[in-house]
Symmetry: C2
Subunit: 335 residues, 2 copies
């Protein structure tokens, strides 16, 4: 092997004091930069023995400045903010993110992963619509690094999910901090790990006997749950923590129609902070935001490290959620 | 130039009776197919004088079996269904669709278009979030074909939009067909070409003096418009055509709170058929669906034709919308 082969483009970039993308473009004769910058990179490459053939390899296969984002979220609810975050983390490095949708179809998945590899992406970010299901593709033996975001990941992979436990704790403690004492949690199906985890933490905060109702992730379920809670013999709750914003919206509508004041009589917190729902609810919903864009941003940073050959600890990283306060809770606009 | 250079991969595919993707993979030694098919393609290539170097060119630059989808719709409301349609049209040809988001930033747009060209996509589909605005990139001199979907396109381009006039006509005529005589149109800002066009056709159907109210694309505007229409001195409408489903939802909620029955007293039609809103409205909304997935599918077909060198007529293609009947209108479940 020639000496020049061991010199990496990143070494040249560092020596010339420019980003990898700029170094690549300078040597490639493409991109926008001053003639001076281009010359500086060229001189650094020459001085370090970074040879044209090694350079060609660097440009054509070592780094392609493209990252693939694979998703089975056909609606875009989760994958669009993740993509925005990934793109934000990588754009300064001159890296483009290409998203490719697979439905829950293994053959389709293989086709698209092969296409990404043909295009010599620097890595693949794999993203889903729930954290306890895997995409129907095996990414374990790829020649490029893989980062998993908001999806189940195989043992030993680098993965990122939002911290359901911490998010649920924020919500329950916020309601308790407002002086609410009869709290209930109305959430989605217990078949979702996120629903189970949030319910577990809710009971940790509010007591083992507090009310948890599982149903669909829908407005209709929010309506129905309010009917059950308010038509029963027990005193109705004075605080509701809902598993998503649609359930919360249904609950708030149902309460208004019963003449129960929100936030006067009952404080309500949703989950997801889905603007289109949370902001249109009357009153607008306090909600837990999973910070999906931050998740994407961190995934982009990890991918960058991996594609530059830096070491990244494997395992599941849980990123914090944040409480977004609107009027449905009362009791202060921030903390 | 050698004779073999003039033989195209599509000629070989046709002679062997296989798709382009299969022909490519057969000659490339990749992909899944029977040994017999692979041999048939090879023999066809040999018989026609399709030479390895021409083949290599075909594989490496003539067709890459990837199409880029450029969008500035960061929410995914419009671009996700378009992408699903494009993918559906192309997957049988072994073509993958890679979506890349640009915000309204020309430098970012250039970077990502360059990345797509570096990856030798067979073509670029350019998609937006409204039909009267252009993405901040100039795609007029690219070495690959471009198809525009749901965005403004330059003169002479191949473009697809949904037919606002036909959609608005369907809505207004449906309401009239139910016997509604006092129709009003509550829609978005007049700065949107779609809002103006739908309003124009609404008046064509209902008369030049019929009520058209412009406001925001929001539930809050639906509430406010109902207050204006019902608190005025004129007799209130018995049919509402709303410019999107959010306005319609706000209007339906406001009517319920006034004790006005939907569809008993007033029939309501929305626009967009955005499931998450239309299906959750009480009663669920009849709405105009822009068939964005069909738009994507047609864009995929046009792209395929262009990338295979077939002739495609330039100009704007308007694809029909369709009325989706739910309970907010009354008077029949389909037609």
């Amino acid at each position: 092997m020639l000496v020049g082969d061991r010199i990496r483009l990143s070494d040249v970039a560092r020596a010339a004091g420019v980003s990898l993308a700029t170094a690549s473009k300078a040597l490639n004769g493409s991109g926008r930069m001053t003639a001076e910058t281009r010359e500086r990179v060229r001189q650094a490459a020459e001085a370090m023995g970074f040879r044209p053939n090694a350079m060609a390899r660097a440009l054509s296969s070592q780094r392609s400045f493209t990252v693939g984002l694979l998703t089975n979220d056909g609606y875009g609810r989760f994958s669009m903010p993740v993509m925005a975050g990934v793109a934000e983390a990588l754009v300064d490095q001159g890296v483009s993110v290409f998203m490719c949708g697979i439905e829950d179809d293994a053959a389709l998945g293989r086709l698209h992963v092969e296409a990404m590899l043909d295009k010599q992406v620097d890595g693949i970010i794999c993203s889903g619509k729930r954290i306890d299901r895997r995409l129907p593709v095996d990414l374990s033996d790829l020649p490029v690094p893989v980062v998993y975001v908001f999806t189940d990941a195989p043992e030993g992979a680098v993965s990122l999910v939002s911290d359901d436990a911490q998010g649920a704790r924020e919500a329950a403690e916020w309601l308790a901090g407002l002086g609410r004492r009869r709290l209930a949690h109305v959430t989605g199906p217990a078949s979702f790990a996120s629903a189970r985890e949030r319910a577990r933490v809710f009971r940790e905060v509010t007591g083992p006997d507090s009310t948890v109702l599982h149903g669909a992730w829908s407005e209709a379920w929010g309506h129905e749950a309010v009917a059950r809670l308010w038509d029963g013999s027990a005193p109705p709750p004075d605080g509701l923590f809902c598993g998503n914003d649609q359930i919360a919206r249904g609950a708030v509508d149902a309460l208004r129609e019963r003449g129960v004041a929100v936030p006067g009589d009952v404080s309500v917190v949703g989950f997801d902070n889905w603007e289109i729902v949370a902001a249109a609810t009357r009153p607008p919903l306090t909600s837990i935001d999973m910070n999906l864009k931050d998740l994407g941003r961190e995934a982009g940073r990890l991918m960058l490290a991996l594609s530059e050959g830096r070491a990244v600890e494997p395992g599941v990283r849980r990123q914090p959620c944040r409480l977004v306060v609107r009027q449905s809770c009362g009791g202060g606009s921030a903390r």
